[in-house]
């Protein structure tokens, strides 16, 4: 297809999308279900004060479980596509002494912030994903500064990646042994269990994002660990 034809076709599609979306947005009928109200009514029972965390880790925790699985799938594929013989260009300790020095001060700060965000998630904005992202940011900066983490000890790495998911799944399944439905939390334990899950998830998510960054193929990637255990 010639380029101008392609642009014309894309333009038509885009205008169609725009028209349809605007039409749909402006003509949305009056909602018949008021979900936020139901969230508010059940908030107390969920064991979490912050409604979004309650939705994420209690009301719709199944979504979150699968979402963590999505992260795991991404990182498993990332690990599978590591290059094992590409010797790293990363031989020098830290290319930039400035960065190195900065990192030493920034890292603890980032980690502390992430812990705070994680903890605040139970009553205010924040939670595992944001905290995990901060952990990842810390990891990425450390990596750029030349600290080599998450590239050795493959078993441990994989365990770390999966730890959050394992804990989540275990808690979810253990409910069934007590005769309660999958993904239910025991009475009165919801808050603390959710916090525990979030804490471990933060670690795993952070590690996942770091691994995806560190093990990405390319010149800057370190030597991959062995696939063999």
């Amino acid at each position: 297809m010639s380029r101008s034809l392609r642009i014309a076709a894309a333009g038509i599609v885009a205008f169609g999308t725009l028209y349809a979306l605007i039409l749909a947005v402006l003509n949305a009928p009056q909602m018949q279900v008021n979900l936020p109200q139901q969230v508010a009514l059940n908030l107390e029972q969920s064991g979490i004060d912050h409604p979004i965390t309650a939705v994420l880790l209690n009301f719709r925790s199944y979504d979150t479980l699968l979402e963590v699985a999505v992260l795991l799938v991404a990182v498993v594929t990332g690990l599978a596509l590591r290059e094992r013989d590409a010797l790293t260009a990363h031989t020098e300790q830290a290319r930039d002494p400035m960065l190195h020095a900065l990192t030493r001060r920034l890292l603890p700060l980032l980690l502390i912030t992430s812990v705070y965000i994680l903890w605040s998630g139970s009553y205010a904005p924040g939670g595992a994903f944001q905290a995990g992202a901060l952990v990842a940011a810390a990891g990425v900066i450390a990596r750029l500064a030349g600290y080599d983490i998450a590239s050795r000890a493959d078993v441990l790495l994989r365990l770390g990646l999966a730890l959050g998911f394992i804990l989540f799944l275990t808690v979810a399944v253990s409910a069934m042994f007590g005769g309660r439905p999958f993904l239910n939390y025991p009475e009165g334990w919801a808050g603390s269990l959710i916090f525990l899950i979030e804490a471990v998830l933060t670690f795993s998510i952070g590690l996942t994002l770091i691994s995806l960054f560190v093990h990405a193929p390319g010149d800057s990637s370190p030597r991959g660990g062995d696939d063999d255990d």
Binding site: F129, A137, F213, A216, G218, S220
Partner: protein, 89 residues
Amino acid sequence: MIVFDILLGIGLILAASGVFLSAQLFRSVVLFVVFGLLLAITWTRLQAPDLALAEAAIGAGLTGVLFLDTLGTLRKAKHKRHRKKETHS
């Protein structure tokens, strides 16, 4: 504050267009990060601080870094290909 919202919305649209229209990938990525930051502000306007936090950390921050890092790899690969071509010719 309605003016601010209109400006913010237009800013979002402009940033997005910038990402697409820019000829250089590097500039696209930078504009993408800018777009993410604007979006983070938008989320606070929509009373979604969680999303603002997540967008800033993940959407703009982490994704941006991933893109930048990849850009570096692509450049190196390109150089290498060019060099190969030169030695061959």
